[in-house]
Amino acid sequence: MSGFLTIVLIALVFIIIYQIAKASEYAAILRGREKVERQTNRTMAWLLVALFICGLWGIWQCHEYLMDKMLPEAASDHGVKYDLMLKVTVIVTGIVFLITQTLLFWFAFRYQSKEKRTAFFYPHNNKLELLWTTLPAVAMAVMVAVGLKGWFSMTAAAPENSQVVEVVGKQFNWIMRYPGSDNILGKRDFRLINDATNVLGLDWNDKANRDDIIAENGELHIIVNRPVKLIIGSRDVIHDVGLPHFRMKMDAVPGIVTTMWFTPTITTEEMKKKTGDKDFVYEISCDQVCGKGHYAMRGTVIVETEAEHKLWLASQKSYYASVNAAPAAPATTPGTQQADSVKAISMK
């Protein structure tokens, strides 16, 4: 019923607007087209100015309302540089935005049609055109130089002392693998994957795999102030490891290994204090559409001190041990059994 009423209401509004529009056409004929057109022109010029002022006010409002909803400060050393670069870009483009939009609306208003005005025949001016070809070109060159410097520094090889963690995406959660005490991630083969006993297809013939730890709950434990290198892969379709708090992301592509590295600088506990939010958590979002559960493909990052990390590691069993110890009850973590575990994950 309410749906029906809404439709009737909308139809009514339409009819009213249409009738007004039609009446205004007739009125224009009665009052003389030329006179009406002059008047409309003046009204439109003023309305454009109003639009511009409302627009500026709207931008200001947006800023007031949204700034405290933004991300907290960057939690990686690369992220700090990123924020600076973003800020500079916002300022530069913001100035260009203001100047060009102001000119657009100012010219429209200032040079509105008037009875006595004649347009100035001004087909071209090579000097001007040269000026505004070179200016943006120079500005872009600077942007490219600064941008590429950042780009090469973040895509350079990870430092030697990096912690290494493998992150594998599947529909619809993240699986983390830690190399264990030998610090080597063993070989894996997608043909060995078994959802119950070998989620990543570790090759047990490779001794390096025996001490590897697998966390199927999507928790990435990393150490503060120590570079971490993520080895990224996917079991099925393309996913993307999105780390908004660290200002990084990288696709997880089946058949290809991708990597990214960064140095976290603020632990989860510190961030809870800084934001005054007890529930604060670093999140991993999947940023490449991967199917119906894409929106719930959530992981978390726990940044901890070296000591805390050692404690956590000590409490973990190697995957080899946990699978072989309890072959009868292989489900170690809820939410990894079926591909349909969307609800279970999203509720965490």
């Binding site: 347009a119 071209h124 379709v237 058949g255």
Partner: protein
Amino acid sequence: MSQQIIIEGSNVAHVHEGHGEHHEHHQQHFITKYIFSQDHKIIGKQFLITGIIWAIIGALFSVFFRLQLGFPDHNFPIMEKFLGEWAKGGRLSPEFYYALVTMHGTILIFFVLTAGLTGTFANFLIPLQIGARDMASPFMNMLSYWFFFTASIIMFSSLFVQTGPAAGGWTAYPPLSALKEASLGSGVGMDLWLIAMALFVVSSLLGGLNYISTILNMRTKGMSMTRMPLTIWALFFTAIIGVLSFPVLLSGFVLLIFDRNFGTSFYLSEIFIGGKALPHIGGSPILYQHLFWFLGHPEVYIVMLPGMGIASEILSNNSRKPIFGYFAMVISLVGITVLSFLVWAHHMFVSGMSPFLGSIFVLMTLLIAVPSSVKVFNWLTTLWRGNIRFSVPMMFAIGFVSMFISGGLTGIYLGNSAIDMHLHDTYFVIAHFHLVMGVSSFFGMFAGIYHWFPKMFGRFMNNTLGYIHFFITFIGAYVIFWPMHYEGIAGMPRRYYDYTAWHSFSQFQHLNMIISIAAIVTFFGQLLFVVNFFVSIFRGRKVNEPNPWGATTLEWTTPIRPGHGNWPGEIPEVHRWPYDYKDDGNGNDFVPQTVPLKPGEEVH
């Protein structure tokens, strides 16, 4: 003496030189005149009306998924009426949410802003503005529409298959789009999507080749390339981009069809899905991305350039002033065309592509900002010291420039790989491309429709409705897309069905609601345009002078309702450039292209 032109075919008027009177049309059957017509004007209108229908469908889809995003906890029984099983109890299912998002993108980018925009204006304007009786091949032109029509039917039918339409995003990245196990939408819906898109490519190639050969070969006497209006230049480069890039997309689709149905492994490697390991090894999903974006990025300019051309024409006409820097405008179009082929991989900065390759694409991408900003400055200077008439098309042309600036500037963020690293696939991208490619192209299209409607149907559209439409659309577009920049900088990913479970993104729930409301209002605002359009065809104020806008270009030298062949007598000869908005000595502020130069008058 102008040349004698006889248009072949049984159903067109034969126009002979020398006969003083205008031959009336041969009696034509309704079907040959309005349905299987070879008249470029009718074909243009067919593209336009099909495009409008698709636009309504595509926009309605966005209303459905905006309802979900804005009100994730509410049920909307009315949705069940439209979507049936997919919105049981009035709540959209995630599968269909992704299908709606995918179809929204596909429909608006390809069916509305490529076919609907270029198809309409290239068909309608090219022969009229260059002084030709019709396209180089009217038959091929007709085929181009009917391939598009067939593609439309197939795409539309895919909405009704049991597993739903394609749901892997408009980019259809494999393996998601290649494996039936990966998603419901990757079933029959995906096959239909690929077939429809293949037919669409055929349509756009037939059209594009026709536009190019018409522009190169069929200009009237005196219409040198440098006397062509900027609309024609823009449509010319649009066609060139389309002809060079669509075949690459088709090849990408063919390989995907093979992977889906014939067991090949072009895009697939090392996949474990649906409880078993697949036999595919050695393929690369990245290959598809390269093939797709080799069209995908030029496609942005296919969508953009016609709007630029139309806006240039309308800004100049309504400022009563020549377009500033005609040659700079043409050269910047050349620049955009060439560079558009060298920037595709900026969509793939985080795909695992080599960082060095990425750096080349950063350079090329930021270079394309140069011709774009030249255009903006030239438009601004065109307004400067003009005598501006705020007709409805002019309002949209001004809106076009505003949207193009807002959306274009954020391209500098995304084209810079170091900044894209965080913004990639977030709402920032949504805001960027909707403003620069979606909304501003629509503004160009609306401007064009309001401007050439009198030529198309011999009647005007209602002005008051036009102004209301403009203000709703302009304000609506900014309210919808401006705040999305903030969401994007906060890392909020695109293509999410629900954000409430996320600690980092759920704070935007209230904002999402505001955006959704704005989107719905704007949608109904567009219906005002639709009503205005269809009612005005039959009931609009009649045009009673051949050149109501005081324009210089050739289309306004035809009769008010031109028949097939466009000019009843000889095709007019052209003597000057298309932007001679100056005192003609008789109290007019423009000199049409057909007026010979006065003794001593300087050629521009």
